[in-house]
Each structure stands twice: as C-alpha cells, then as structure tokens.
Symmetry: C2
Subunit: 344 residues, 2 copies
C-alpha cells in the first residue's frame, strides 16, 4: 500500500532533505505532493527519477493526503496544521510551534517512538541540536537517574536556513581578503566568527534556542523536573551541529559504561578513540544518519558527572531524518489498521 | 632609562604581536633584539619606523639583555630560559613549559601582578583561553567563594600558530567548492569544521589544552583545590577565542552583581545587552586589548550558578599583551631599584 503524503516547505533546506530521505529509505509512498509559497511554486524537484512540480499551498492542498510533513517556520505551521488535520492527514511538524503542547507528542523514535499511536494526528519533531544530544543522553538516563544536564552547542549555519547559508558563503569569500560584512540588521557576521546568540532573547537572558533545549530535553526524556541549562552558539560551518554535554547522575556513570550504553543504542555511532585521533566532528557527521558521540570522560569536578561530545547532521537527524522516521511509524500504524480484504 | 630587551621567536605570530604591542604601548626599551631560528634569521621586522634584523639564537644572544620574552614552543623555552637567566635577564615565558612549577609565578597582571617581585627572574604567561576567562572569573571570585568552574572553549586557529592559520586559509578556499582537505597526519580539517581536540590526549581522556585550563585557573586564582572541568574545541576562525563559562559560588551571585563586578575590573569590557543584540563575539574581540564578557544569566539548574560568555584576542590578552604587561611590571621594578645618581 503506497501512501499519499505531502511536504509543506518542500523547496527549503529541510524540505529538500526530507524528500531525499524519503527516497533513500524507500518510504511506502507515491511521489509526494510538494507544497510551497506562491513564489517557489512552479519549480520542480526530483523524486525516484521523476520530476515533481512544486505547487502553491491552498485550502485544498491537503485533500487526500495521509501524512503531511511541515518543514516551514512557526507561523505557517500554526496556520496549516489544522487545515491538514481537518483534511484527514496525520501531521509531523518540524517547526517548534507545537512542541510544548501537552497533547502533542515530541518524538525521537529511538527514544519515545511509542508515543506515535493510533488516533494521534499531530506529532512534533524536536529542535535540531536537542534531537542529537538527547539521543546520546537517553541510554544513560535509562542506566542511572539523570540529575542535571548542561550543554554548550556549536551549531552550523544551515540550521538558520538557506538564506543564512548563502550569506555565510558570501561572507567567507569576502572575508578571505578583508572583513566579512555584517548580516542584515547590523548583526555580527557568521563568517569567520562565533556568535553566541541563536533566536531572540527571553527575559531570563537565555535565547529561545537555549530554552527549547531545556524544555524539549525534559519532554523527550519524560523527566519534567530535570534541571537543564544551555549555551547555544553559531559557528562558520555549513552542516553539522556539535554539542559539548556535561551530565550528572545519581551514581557514578563512567566513560566505559557510557560507551557500552551508546554502542547498544540505535541511531548512535561511537567515535571515541583519542589515541587514534578519533572523536566526533561536524564534517564527519554531515551527510550521515548516525549521531556521532565520543570524548567520554569523567567530569573532573564531580564523581557523578560525565563529559562527552556529540556531532550530527542537523538537516538529517536534527530535522528531516527524524521526521521521516516518525512518518515511518505513522505509516506502519496505518498499514496495520488496514482492513484485511479477502481475495476474490 | 631605556631597557635592552629581547624576543625569542620574534617571527612567529605571537612574536610579531609582541613586537607590535611593545611599540603601541611605548615600552621603555630600545629596539628589541629579535631572535629566531637560523631559518628565520636574516629577515627584518619594523619597530618604531626602524628596520630591525632578526638574528640567529646563540649562547651569547642574551648578553646584556634586561628582559627576554620567550615566544617559542616548550622545548626551545626549556632550552633557552636558563641561558637567558644566566646572562642576567628576567625571562617572561609565553610557552607552557614552566607554568606548573611551584617557584615560577603564573601571572595575569590585573589579578596577581604582585607576584612580579624583585628577585623573580622567571615568570610564566598563561594559556591563551585561560588568560581570558580567568580575568572574568577573578572579580567574581573576590566577591564570593568560587566552588566549581566548567568551561567549553571555541578557539581560533591562530592559537595553533602561523602554519595552521595558513592551512585554514587554504582549507577554507578549497572548501568553497569542494571538501576541505585533511590536515597533516590525516587529522580532520579545521576549515568548515569543529574539532574537539587541542593538543595530545592525557590518560584521563582530557587533552593537554583542557588540563592546562584546569591547573592554570587554580594557580592564577590561588585556589589550588578549585574544581575545574573543560572541553576545548577548535573552530574555523582566524583570531579570537571564545569561552562559555559555568561558575558556581557559595551563595547566589546573579547577573546584575556579576556585571557590576566586571565593570569595575581592569582589562574587561562588558558587552551584555541582549535587547540590542550586544554580546561578545570572536570578531569583535580580535585586534583589541579588552577581554569581552557578556551573556550573564543565572544557571537554570543551580541557584548558586552563573553562566556567561567571554571573547578575547588570543594573540593579545591571551599571549603577547599579557606578556608585555608582565614585562612592564618587571621594568617598573628595575626602574625603582636604579640607584639615584647625584648630578655632577
């Protein structure tokens, strides 16, 4: 049974990655309906050797679709999710618009894929950095009680979208023989720079990006009281988010135990052999599905603490791959609920 | 009274920065003796409009010098420091070779400049990241008892020397339309990447760079038992080291108190106005003397914790500027000890 599915925001970085991953993973669907703004409509994208036209999004765009992936910013996700649900589709929202709602599961399939259940028609996909480091935290949190998480992220510019990535390329070129120009609005350039500010600031001095990590880590791990703190920075890398993680437990959980837990958990690749100069890097993660984890070592300040480092492709596990994995669970539920038709 | 001083390693990134800063600050010296390897000897460098020849380093190179700045790697610093001291010079060592020795003061002048005393003939200059974040920690550690420090650094490639910086430039250019090449030895490229490994690894899983931060923070702050942990990473930036700092105290020390402490402390520039998009960045710090500090906010996991972000020019406060500031203290002691000669 091939499902009819749709991608809203199909021409963006994440939309295109989603289409590619649907193809790579042999998702049980016909060519997806590709939806975008009027401006992008008329373009075509390739899927299984076919050229698929991008359509403008209208009130009837979702009719007949079983699953819709929303790869757009919050306002558009808020506007179109009810329309798609009303049309009968199950919605996987890659924006942050619905992540904090109690009745919307926030899913990393390897951790809490069981939240994708019959009758659930809206599922949120987590923040791109959070999806990666929470995957490395999950097996540890099953082995011991997690009591505190502190992270510093080093995030690539693709996380800010295609326009920011173009701006990075231009800035890097201009910065080869001069000074990279400021971004729009006089903001400091991403090129040749470190910018410790992602998203707007909240009254407590944290950015929206940092607070997403706090709230989403708690929700995905189902630890609503877990103390989490975060610093999020942008670095001049195209693809690949890195996170330095400091985690504390109710007992010593050393690097050997951590490595054994990571080896046994799906979606992770252990890259942790300092003697051979093996550790996660942004470039090593880019283009791949696994979340790379390494640099495990005891926190020097706390016998119950562990330090480690995570790198992942923010367009894949941080966004499109995770969303397609969620859609695969939805598709499996739909296949299981199909009435068995007796052959004539 | 003009002193005779020398710079060993004069043609390196830090050596040249040291020469420039001596000139900018009007250091009371004649043209410094510029010492380097045989390979670099014969070149000339500019000082106060003069062209100064770079000399090869020999056993008699230090004769007649009052102060010698060592801007070389550890083996050369270990080899030449005794020769320079035996020739009667006070040595300021920018390498890490002598930093851990009990009888060698490790000095950031704004914090512990009083360790530069008559009779002290060898003074160590701290690690480039440590010098910056310890300057921001110092006024807080005077206001409350510091009980834990955890840092993640985002360090520029100039910290790895001129050859690494050339390699970064080449890698960034090659990476504009392809993949940046591996570094020598098959190590992951710095260009377009995040590399969580600076220096060799120690048996505890930490790198030498990380352990320098631990030991040097304790020594400079004169808190030998202070719990410190660190993750050090390299990012594709030319100049400007950034550090995300998480500090804990024996009482709540909030962002307002921290900002007031930083405003009153020399060498720091407070850049902390999120509403106006003002926070420290690598590019904003590069080329300047002050250590930029901002993003102060309460640690979300601990009422006694504070998070903040530091950026500094690693060639200046992290190296050459701090060393020249030490040399200025030495020069002041020498001037004060000069016998007053009665005019004829």
């Amino acid at each position: 049974m091939n499902l009819r599915i749709g991608i809203l925001g199909a021409t963006g970085l994440v939309g295109r990655a989603t289409l590619a991953i649907l193809e790579q993973r042999g998702f049980p669907c016909d060519a997806p309906r590709l939806l975008a703004s009027d401006r992008a409509a008329g373009r075509t994208l390739a899927f299984r050797g076919q050229s698929v036209a991008v359509e403008p999004t209208t009130a009837s765009s979702f009719d007949g679709l079983a699953i819709v992936l929303l790869a757009v910013q919050n306002p558009l996700a808020l506007a179109w999710a009810p329309v798609a649900r009303a049309a009968g589709a199950v919605v996987v929202d890659l924006s942050s618009a619905h992540r904090d709602l109690d009745d919307v599961p926030l899913v990393v399939p390897e951790i809490n894929g069981d939240r994708v259940r019959p009758g659930v028609t809206l599922i949120a996909n987590p923040n791109c950095s959070t999806a990666a480091f929470v995957l490395a935290l999950a097996p540890l949190a099953r082995a011991a009680r997690l009591t505190r998480v502190a992270v510093t992220t080093l995030q690539s510019v693709s996380g800010a979208g295609a326009a920011a990535l173009d701006e990075l390329e231009r800035g890097v070129r201009m910065g080869l023989d001069g000074t990279p120009p400021a971004r729009a609005g006089g903001l400091p350039p991403f090129a040749w720079n470190v910018v410790p500010a992602i998203g707007s600031f909240e009254p407590n001095g944290y950015t929206r990006e940092e607070m997403k990590m706090v709230r989403e880590t708690r929700k995905i791990l189902d630890l609503p009281e877990l103390p989490v703190t975060a610093t999020a920075t942008r670095v001049p890398v195209r693809v690949g988010h890195c996170v330095a993680v400091n985690a504390r437990f109710d007992r010593p959980l050393g690097p050997d135990e951590a490595r054994a837990s990571w080896r046994a958990f799906p979606g992770l690749m252990l890259v942790d052999d300092p003697a051979a100069d093996r550790y996660p890097t942004a470039l090593a993660a880019a283009g791949g599905d696994p979340v790379l984890v390494g640099r495990a070592r005891a926190d020097l300040t706390d016998p119950h603490g562990l330090e480690f480092f995570v790198a992942s492709d923010n367009l894949r596990k941080g966004a499109a791959l995770n969303a397609v994995q969620i859609a695969e669970r939805v598709a499996a539920l739909m296949a299981a609920s199909q009435p068995v038709v007796a052959r004539p």
